[in-house]
Every structure is written in structure tokens, then in C-alpha cells.
């Protein structure tokens, strides 16, 4: 293994360095004030650690690419084997998927940290060490999650990134809205993670292994259980695989903000904008999709689970996009757009489009981080105004932001040749091709196609309102852009948003990413397990149709809103109201919590207090009461005792006589 020693060391260091930076910043904060770390030291520590991860990730990616590595680099026993169960291990899994994802995460994390220096450090902000410590912890945990070699380790780091999300959404914890959004994000994702945890336990109980890789992986175990038609956990192997896959999907739906657990993500926009870019758009939310891609071989064994994934994705893609149509807050538009785009990735995975999902994940990470950073630049320029109706005409005042934001928007809207077009097209293609075998897939496919129009519309509504027309406020008239730490992240991401799509532009005959990921193995798995087609033949008609829809939607959105000076939606009717109220889902959840669950709990509490406790308290009350009554016989007057003894004797004699037949 000496030839891979370099990659091994690098792969271990990638998550370790940011985690070490986290520890250093944390310890620095404990030092006395005058010797402790200020904001600058923390900033440097966090940026340097993620830069190191970026360099190492690039190295690992390059090595994986050129030498086609696919191995578990480091494996350490964490808990010794109990009985006939295997050891619990922690390991670093280096394969194309993890190498690519690590590169995406560290690129975005590095650029976002650089942008953070501009966004956070100029405002007399006092919590900077806390901010950078949490971001370093997040980067380390996310990278460790990416490299996890087994499901249990993945679960642990899945939870850790959730914790970082909580800490950073609530960064401005003195705002009640931020504190409440942090709690909501934590609780909603935790609800999904509960299913994930049960799924993790079920995998171990049913298949006896957590491993992702090798001959004793859980996929091999599941596959052989299926072939032998064994009984797993008391049900048939097919049912067990489906149930386990759906349980894991619970965690995915929570983390990747899919319907119906998407409600936390728009609220999470209360966090600082760089955090939204990194955690709530590009990387942490991707953890859910990444997990499905990682366990794709398990999903491929269950047609039902795949279909559920596709339906959740297709529905979410359209559902979230419609809500983005009416939002006035620029970050809210982007939040709903994020939910919608992750819907596309789920749709792709459910339709067997492994490459399409990973491809879209990558493109989305770049262009959505770009859009969020662009929005952050605008928000800073307008002194923390986020309402798009207070913007307008920023194109001339902020040219760099405008042009990069435009590139990101074209990618998001799915207009060729920008990156989003190629991956979205491929996701739709997967659904379209497999629908021939599985007609039910036409439904999520149709939802995805409609969402293309909606996506174009809300994207260019946002662009028109923010950057075009005349400035609508004084702040917008006096806006100005920041320095190098704005231009560099925006520029790099802007270039990526333009060119990233060409790594797998299938209609042009480029399949570099699919080859790199070894996608054909996954297509075969889905073909064998779920009867899906083995590989996707390009449909030029579909590519053109998707492009036409995207352009039509974008043009309509731009035309309607450029130069608009009052919200068009005031003319909208009931539909607008429903959209603005987010389909009343938040109301529904509050109703579920306050009116249903809380009342039911109160009822149960009443049962506990009045009936269970009532019996206990009643026993003691009866004892106390009767004792109190009876002890009054002890009068302390000797004559009374004597009288009672005598009466007792008389009664006894009388009874004995009666029984003895004296009378």
C-alpha cells in the first residue's frame, strides 16, 4: 500500500485539519482576554485550515482520478466485536464519489470563508471566534461525513453537521427569530434523523454490517439476502431492504429539506448569508442526497424505494419552486430554489440517474453558493436590507456582483450552456428514459418539467427586481461593492457556474464525470435490482424542450418584473395567497404541534395526574384519613379504655355464646 500512502495521509488530514482549527479557536477563546484570540486570529486559523483541506482534497481528487483509486484508506476499530457481530470501525473511504464531494465541499468552504471575512469582519461583530470555530467544525465534520467508510460513522457526522447548522443559524442568538429558526431547523431535521437512526439500527440488526465498501459491505449482504430469499428481521428480504431504504430516506428528507420536512430551510435564512451559502445551499443540505448516492446500491435493490425517492424529489422540485415565485426576500427565493434543486437531485436518484444526481449536486453547489454570496454582497451594500422591492438598478453600481450573479442565475434557470442546464437535463432524461419501463415515473418527470418553467420565472424575477430597472430606494442608489474578498469568491464560482457543466455535457457526447464515477456499475445495479434501463440514451428532443421551457419561463419572469414598481402579486388572487402562506404547511405544522399534539399530551397528562397518580394519592389519602379518624379513640382517659375493653369482652362472650349455641 506504499504507493497510496500519500493519498491515505492526505485523506486523513482533510477532515482533521479543520477539526484541529476548531479546537485551537475554542482553546484560544478560553485564554484570558488580553492573550486570547481575537477575530483576526480565528479568521486566519479557519481559512488556513480549510485552505489546507482544499489543497489536500485536490491532491486526493487528482490521485483518485488518474489512478482510479477505490479503497478504504484507514480503518480503526472503535468498538470491539460483541458476540458474532463484527467490530464497529471508523474508516476513511477514498473513492471517486468521496473524492469529488470532498473537493466540492472544500472549494465552496474555502471561498465562503474568504467571503465571510468581508461579510462578517467589518461590523464590530464580537462573536467572530464562535463563528469561525463553528465553520471549522462544520467543514471538518462535513468532510469526515463525506469520507465515512460505514453507515454508523456517516450517521455520527450527519448529526454533527446538523449541530453546526443549529449553532450557525442561531449565530445572532439575541434575535428571537434567529433563535427560533435554529430550534426549528434542529427539531425538524432531528425528526427525520430519528427514522435514519432506526434505519441504522435495522441495517446492523438485519445485515450485520455497516460497511460501505468491500466484500462484507451492507450492499453485498443485502444482495445475498435477496438472492437467498432469506428472512430478515422477520420479514422477507425484499421488504426489509425497502423498509431500511425508506427509513434512511427519512434522514435524507430532513437534511435535504424535501417535502414535507422542508419548512426549516427557509427559516434557516436567519443565519449569516455566508452560512446560508455554505451550509444551507451548497454542502450540508447536500449531505442527504450524498447519503442516497452513497447507499445507492441499497436503493437499487428496491424498486419501491426508488420510486418513493423519485416522487418525493419530483414533487418537491415543483412544490418549492412555486413558493419561490412570490417571496420578496432575496434569500427566501434562494432558499426555496435550493429545496427545489435538491428535489431534482432526488428525482434523478430515484430514476436511477446516479451521474445526473452527483452532477447536479456539484453544479448546484457552485452556482447556488455563488448566488448566495452575490445576495450577500447586495445585502451588505444595502446595509442589511433583504427585500427585493428595496433594490433595483444595482447592475450599474455593482458590476462584478451583477455579472457573476447573472451567470449563477442562468445556471440555475437551466439555460445552455451554463452548468445547471446540463445536469438538470440529465436528471430529467433519467426519469424520461426509465418511465418507459416504469410508467409511474412519468408523474415526477412531468412535475420536473413544469418546475423548469417555474424555476426560470422566479430566477429572472429575482434578477430583474434586484439588478434591473431604476433604484427604488436611496440605499440602492448609493450601493457599492466590496474588495478582493468579494471579487475572488464570486469570480471563481462565476467561472465554475459557466464551465462546470461541460464535464458531463451528455448531448455533446462528453461523459467525463460518468466515467470518473464509474457510473455504469450503478446503472447495472439499478437495472438488475429494479429493472431500470442500463444507461441513458440522449434524447435531443428532451434537451431542446427543457431549454425552450427554461428560456420561456426566464423571459416571462424578466419581462414582467423589469421596471416593475409594485408587486404584481397584489393583483393575484387566492393562489398567490396560498403561495405566500407557503401552502399553509407552517400553519399546519404549528397546528399539529399546538392543537393536536399539545392537546393530546395534555389529555395524557390528565390521565397520568388524575388516574395513575389519583390511585396512588387516593391510597395514601384513605390511609391518612382513616388513621386520623381512628386515632381519636386514644382519648388518654383511662375510663374510656376500660369501657372499650369491657364492651369488647362482652361482645366476645356474646359472639362465642352465639356460635357455641349457648342460647
Amino acid at each position: 500500500m506504499s504507493e497510496t500512502a500519500l493519498v491515505e495521509t492526505a485523506a486523513v488530514l482533510i477532515p482533521t485539519v479543520p477539526l484541529a482549527a476548531f479546537a485551537v479557536i475554542l482553546l484560544g477563546a478560553l485564554l484570558p482576554k488580553e492573550r486570547g484570540f481575537g477575530g483576526t486570529t480565528s479568521t486566519v486559523a479557519a481559512i488556513a485550515s480549510v485552505a489546507a483541506s482544499l489543497v489536500l482534497s485536490a491532491l486526493v481528487f487528482f490521485e483518485t482520478w488518474t489512478r482510479e483509486l477505490d479503497f478504504v484508506a484507514v480503518q480503526a476499530v472503535w468498538v470491539d466485536a460483541i458476540g458474532d457481530l463484527p467490530d464497529l470501525t471508523v474508516g476513511i473511504l477514498v473513492d471517486p464519489l468521496s473524492a469529488l464531494m470532498a473537493l466540492i465541499v472544500s472549494v465552496v468552504a474555502f471561498l465562503v470563508l474568504v467571503f465571510s471575512k468581508y461579510y462578517m469582519n467589518d461590523e464590530g461583530e464580537t462573536g467572530l471566534p464562535r463563528y469561525y470555530a463553528a465553520l471549522a467544525l462544520f467543514s471538518g465534520s462535513m468532510l469526515a461525513f463525506v469520507f465515512s467508510s460505514n453507515l454508523l460513522m456517516a450517521f455520527i457526522f450527519f448529526e454533527l453537521v446538523g449541530l453546526c447548522s443549529y449553532l450557525l443559524i442561531g449565530f445572532w442568538y439575541d434575535r428571537p427569530s434567529a433563535a427560533s429558526a435554529a430550534k426549528k431547523a434542529f427539531l425538524v431535521t432531528r425528526f427525520g434523523d430519528y427514522f435514519f437512526l432506526v434505519g441504522v439500527a435495522a441495517v446492523f440488526a438485519g445485515f450485520g454490517t455497516f460497511a460501505f465498501h468491500g466484500d462484507d459491505s451492507l450492499f453485498v449482504a443485502a444482495q445475498s439476502a435477496l438472492e437467498a430469499d432469506e428472512t430478515v428481521l422477520g420479514v422477507s428480504a425484499q421488504t426489509a431492504v425497502t423498509v431500511v431504504a425508506l427509513l434512511i430516506l427519512g434522514g435524507v428528507i430532513g437534511k435535504s429539506a424535501q417535502f414535507p420536512l422542508h419548512t426549516w430551510l427557509p427559516d434557516a435564512m436567519e443565519g449569516p448569508t455566508p452560512v446560508s451559502a455554505l451550509i444551507h445551499a451548497a454542502t450540508m443540505v447536500a449531505a442527504g442526497v450524498y447519503l442516497v448516492a452513497r447507499t445507492f446500491e441499497l436503493y437499487a435493490l428496491s424498486p419501491t424505494a426508488l420510486l418513493v425517492v423519485a416522487f418525493v424529489g419530483g414533487f418537491t422540485a415543483l412544490f418549492a419552486a412555486t413558493m419561490a415565485l412570490v417571496m420578496d426576500d432575496i434569500k427566501q427565493v434562494l432558499a426555496y430554489s435550493t429545496i427545489s434543486q435538491y428535489g431534482y437531485m432526488m428525482l434523478a436518484l430515484g430514476a436511477g440517474g446516479y451521474t445526473a444526481a452527483v452532477f447536479h449536486l456539484m453544479n448546484h453547489a457552485f452556482f447556488k453558493a455563488l448566488l448566495f454570496l452575490g445576495a450577500g454582497s447586495v445585502i451588505i451594500a444595502l446595509h442589511h436590507k433583504q427585500d427585493m422591492w428595496e433594490m433595483g438598478g444595482l447592475r450599474r453600481r455593482m458590476p462584478v456582483t451583477y455579472w457573476t450573479f447573472l451567470a449563477g442565475s442562468l445556471a440555475l434557470a437551466g439555460i445552455a450552456p451554463f452548468s445547471g442546464y446540463w445536469s438538470k437535463d440529465e436528471a430529467l432524461l433519467a426519469a424520461f428514459r426509465n418511465a418507459a419501463n416504469e410508467p409511474l415515473l412519468y408523474i415526477p418527470f412531468a412535475l420536473g418539467m413544469v418546475a423548469v418553467v417555474v424555476t426560470g420565472f422566479y430566477t429572472f424575477r429575482m434578477v430583474a427586481l434586484t439588478f434591473h430597472g431604476e433604484p427604488r430606494t436611496d440605499a440602492a442608489r448609493d450601493a457599492s461593492e466590496g474588495g478582493i474578498s468579494v471579487y475572488v469568491p464570486l469570480g471563481v464560482l462565476g467561472v465554475l457556474a459557466v464551465v462546470a457543466g461541460f464535464v458531463n455535457a451528455a448531448p455533446l457526447g462528453i461523459h467525463a464525470l460518468a466515467d470518473f464515477l464509474g457510473a455504469s456499475a450503478f446503472y447495472e445495479a439499478a437495472a438488475a435490482g429494479a429493472g431500470y434501463v442500463d444507461g441513458f440514451e440522449v434524447s435531443y428532443a428532451l434537451s431542446v424542450a427543457a431549454l425552450v421551457l427554461a428560456v420561456a419561463g426566464s423571459a416571462a419572469g424578466f419581462k414582467l418584473y423589469v421596471g416593475a414598481d409594485e408587486p404584481l402579486k397584489t393583483r393575484g388572487g387566492a393562489t398567490t395567497r396560498v403561495l405566500e402562506k407557503k401552502y399553509y404547511l407552517d400553519h399546519f405544522q404549528v397546528w399539529l404541534a399546538e392543537d393536536v399534539t399539545y392537546r393530546f399530551s395534555k389529555l395524557l397528562n390528565m390521565f397520568d395526574l388524575d388516574i395513575v397518580d389519583g390511585v396512588v394519592n387516593g391510597t395514601s389519602r384513605v390511609s391518612l384519613g382513616s388513621g386520623d379518624a381512628i386515632r381519636r379513640m386514644q382519648t388518654g382517659v383511662v375510663a374510656h379504655y376500660a369501657a372499650i375493653i369491657i364492651l369488647g369482652t362482652v361482645a366476645l362472650v356474646f359472639i362465642v355464646g352465639l356460635v357455641g349455641g349457648w342460647f
Partner: protein
């Protein structure tokens, strides 16, 4: 010879007098005296029946009486000892006074 029933009735009468005294009097000395009455009523009963059954039944009844007398003497000694202490403490032998041993 006086019929045995006479003794029995006398015994019952004396017992009743003693019982009445125990229940109604407040002076502890008088109560002790009444207890003596009740004990001796019992003794009378024992003697009467011993005589009634004659020598054939042995002298068990008379032996009982001697035991009762001895124990009664001991009981009175204890009782009077208690009374002395009660008197020292309360300055009276009224049995209603030391009523603190109650609920």
C-alpha cells in the same frame, strides 16, 4: 349449706360494683380499690365452685385464689408506685389529669 348460686350472684354483684367504680371514679386510689373488688369477686367465684365440686375436683380452685391474691398484691404495689409518681408530677391523683398520652 348455702346453695352455690348465692355465692355466684354475690360474686357477680361485687364484680359489678367494682366495674362501676372503675368506670366512673376519677380518683386513682379509689379505682385501684375497685379493681381489688373485681379481683375478689372473681376469687369468690373460684372458691364457690371449688366448694361446689367438693374434694373430688381437688384443690385447684383454692390454689388459683392464692395465686390471684399474690398477684393482686404485686399489682397494687406497682399501681401505688405509679400513683406516687403521678402525684409528684401533677399534685393530684385524679386519673383525668395525665391525659397527654393520646392522639
Amino acid at each position: 349449706m348455702v346453695p352455690t348460686s348465692y355465692y355466684v350472684f354475690l360474686s357477680a354483684f361485687i364484680f359489678a360494683i367494682g366495674l362501676y367504680g372503675v368506670l366512673t371514679r376519677e380518683n386513682a386510689v379509689v379505682i385501684l380499690m375497685c379493681v381489688e373488688l373485681m379481683l375478689n369477686a372473681g376469687n369468690l367465684n373460684l372458691i364457690a365452685f371449688a366448694a361446689h365440686h367438693g374434694e373430688a375436683a381437688g384443690i385447684a380452685g383454692q390454689t388459683f385464689v392464692l395465686f390471684v391474691l399474690a398477684i393482686a398484691a404485686a399489682e397494687v404495689a406497682v399501681g401505688l408506685g405509679v400513683l406516687v409518681l403521678v402525684y409528684r408530677r401533677y399534685g393530684t391523683v385524679n386519673i383525668r389529669k395525665p391525659s397527654y398520652m393520646r392522639w
